[in-house]
Symmetry: C2
Subunit: 123 residues, 2 copies
């Protein structure tokens, strides 16, 4: 059931595809939302900086709710499926340099499945 590339698959269209949750919920919702934590302007900052960086073909997309609201704002980078929480432009600068340019990981911001919430049961 897990995803993965198969022999004969087309080459990837982007080297990396970053999805930044910009979902906004009504004020006071118990889960909160990424937009109330400034994900929209921070996504714009990330997109602009990535456009200037030596990172290969990377697209920075806005996305709907990624369902890890409590840890937000969150973003996920594919194909590696690495999730980050971030708060500031400096956090994003570090993700660009360490992850997108150097191919490393920003351990202090990276999320693991154990950070929650529990993923939905396998359908």
């Amino acid at each position: 059931m897990t995803g993965g590339r198969s022999a004969g698959d087309p080459q990837p269209y982007f080297d990396r595809h970053v999805f930044v949750c910009t979902n906004r919920r009504a004020e006071g919702h118990p889960r909160g939302c990424c937009a109330e934590k400034k994900s929209e302007p921070l996504r714009a900052y990330l997109k602009a900086r990535v456009g200037e960086a030596e990172v290969g073909r990377v697209r920075v997309n806005a996305s709907g709710c990624l369902d890890r609201c409590e840890l937000g704002p969150v973003l996920v980078i594919y194909p590696e499926g690495i999730w980050y929480t971030y708060r500031t432009a400096e956090d994003l600068d570090e993700i660009i340099q360490t992850h997108l340019v150097e191919g490393g990981r920003v351990a202090r911001l990276m999320l693991s499945p154990e950070d929650g919430p529990k993923p939905p049961p396998a359908g």
Copy 2:
């Protein structure tokens, strides 16, 4: 520069993560947009059907513009990075069964980089 998993990376949070472009542009824009080709109700259909299917932990997200508007409506499935164009609920049923359930590919709907538009130059 290309993305990929590294030793020590956390387990993936979702088995597969589907991003469906629901971007809407002003009427008459030369590139068109996925929303004018019914991507919003079709995304809702896909999400509901995936929730009932035996596909593992799959999330169906809305996304902003995926920048392949001329081929739209489009969706992309990660981690494998496979892109599809689709028009109908029947197309989505085939993607669920063949790709998400069986791990195959729906060749008649799958996009390759050569289908365009040319990806942005490497930054």
